[in-house]
């Protein structure tokens, strides 16, 4: 049944978000700490367990795959409801601060990716 997969997915997210809230409370932070990440881990672990096979095999799995496939359309809707006008109205300082933060962070991706693995990351500009 498709609803089994959808139900499992929903349950994972709700439990994950709850644990994220609790983690935020423990750390005394006004934010959900990793709730979605915890939910993803839950889904990965549960869907690999034999006893939960009925929730993820066949038709039930289709209930999860459907929402996975809806990901890009949902992201497009998300883009369409961003406060783009406010971002541009923020003026030169806001634009510069946001832009430089992104540029520097992009530059760090290959450097930190090297940590914890033996093979080197392809150098910048290297063709594949």
């Amino acid at each position: 049944m498709i609803i089994y997969g959808v139900a499992l997915l929903s349950a994972c997210l709700v439990v994950g978000l709850y644990l994220g809230e609790l983690l935020g409370t423990i750390l005394n932070v006004d934010a959900n700490v990793g709730g979605v990440g915890i939910a993803m881990l839950l889904l990965v672990v549960i869907s690999s367990k034999k006893s939960f096979a009925g929730f993820v095999r066949g038709e039930s799995g289709a209930g999860i795959k459907f929402w996975s496939a809806m990901y890009i359309p949902i992201v497009v809707a998300m883009a369409a409801r961003q406060n783009v006008a406010a971002a541009i109205d923020g003026g030169a300082m806001a634009i510069l601060a946001g832009t430089l933060a992104v540029v520097v962070s992009f530059a760090l991706v290959p450097l930190i990716s090297k940590i914890g693995r033996g093979d080197p990351v392809p150098a910048a500009g290297e063709t594949d």
């Binding site: 889904l43 359309p73 992201v75 998300m78 601060a97 430089l100 962070s105």
Partner: protein, 252 residues
């Protein structure tokens, strides 16, 4: 005409599905016909969404892009946090735990480095623009972390509403730029495997930016980037009003 508007506003979620569907179709058409597939269809769709959001925001004066137009209110639900998180978690279906473990340490380092580096850049820019009091510098710097960390930090240390608005704007610029920029720089920063996607998610941190950026680059990488990104805002809210604020106060 009135009857049409009534039907559309009453069935707002269905309108959203149809409008987004048409947008995605048109974007993939443009991608194929005019760029020979070089620019990913989803990258075009996301950019169209952002452009529409700009005009929607200008027309209505609201903060939710096109979703403030009554007929398109469903976009607000479809693209809101609940559905976004739901779809992100669904992408984790089929991910192998081993892949996540491989990037474990690099992922954790990337979150800390991402928060600190964005904060540092934001602080330098704020200082360069003439802000010299530690509260304002910290709040604007926290905005460069994400648009949630900015106001949370500002509220905690008592920043003025003008400075908080500025920090939100900085965070929005970051988020939008990550959406548009990721597919463009992906090949130059080695963003083509689960490990670098986790590092990327941890460094960028903005969940919306990472979600859209990876969607436009390679949807298979989404769960890995999203996994680390969702911890970033929490870490930012933890460090912003505390250690990072103390450091700024000590330096200035």
């Amino acid at each position: 005409m009135d009857a049409l508007v009534t039907v559309l506003t009453r069935n707002y979620l269905l309108v959203a599905f149809a409008v987004v569907g048409i947008t995605v179709w048109a974007s993939y058409f443009i991608s194929r016909k005019f760029t020979a597939g070089r620019i990913h269809g989803s990258a075009i769709a996301i950019t169209l969404g952002l452009v529409a959001a700009y005009f929607g925001g200008r027309a209505t004066g609201g903060s939710a892009g096109v979703a403030d137009i009554p007929v398109l209110a469903g976009i607000g639900l479809m693209g809101g946090g609940m559905m976004r998180d739901f779809a992100i978690v669904a992408t984790a279906f089929g991910v192998h735990l081993d892949e996540l473990k491989k990037a474990g340490i690099a992922g954790v380092i990337s979150i800390l480095a991402g928060v600190v580096v964005s904060f540092l850049v934001g602080a330098i820019v704020a200082f360069a623009f003439g802000y010299t009091d530690p509260v304002s510098v910290t709040t604007i710097a926290a905005g460069a972390v994400t648009y949630i960390v900015g106001p949370v930090t500002g509220a905690a240390i008592g920043a003025s509403s003008e400075v908080v608005a500025m920090s939100v704007a900085a965070g929005l610029v970051k988020s939008i730029l990550v959406m548009i920029g990721t597919p463009l720089v992906a090949r130059f920063i080695g963003l083509n495997n689960p490990q670098s996607a986790m590092v990327y998610g941890g460094l960028m941190g903005t969940t919306s930016g990472v979600a859209a950026g990876l969607a436009a680059t390679d949807p298979k990488l989404v769960p890995y980037g999203a996994m680390t990104a969702t911890f970033y805002t929490g870490v930012g809210c933890l460090l912003g009003p505390s250690i990072l604020f103390f450091i700024v106060r000590a330096v200035i």
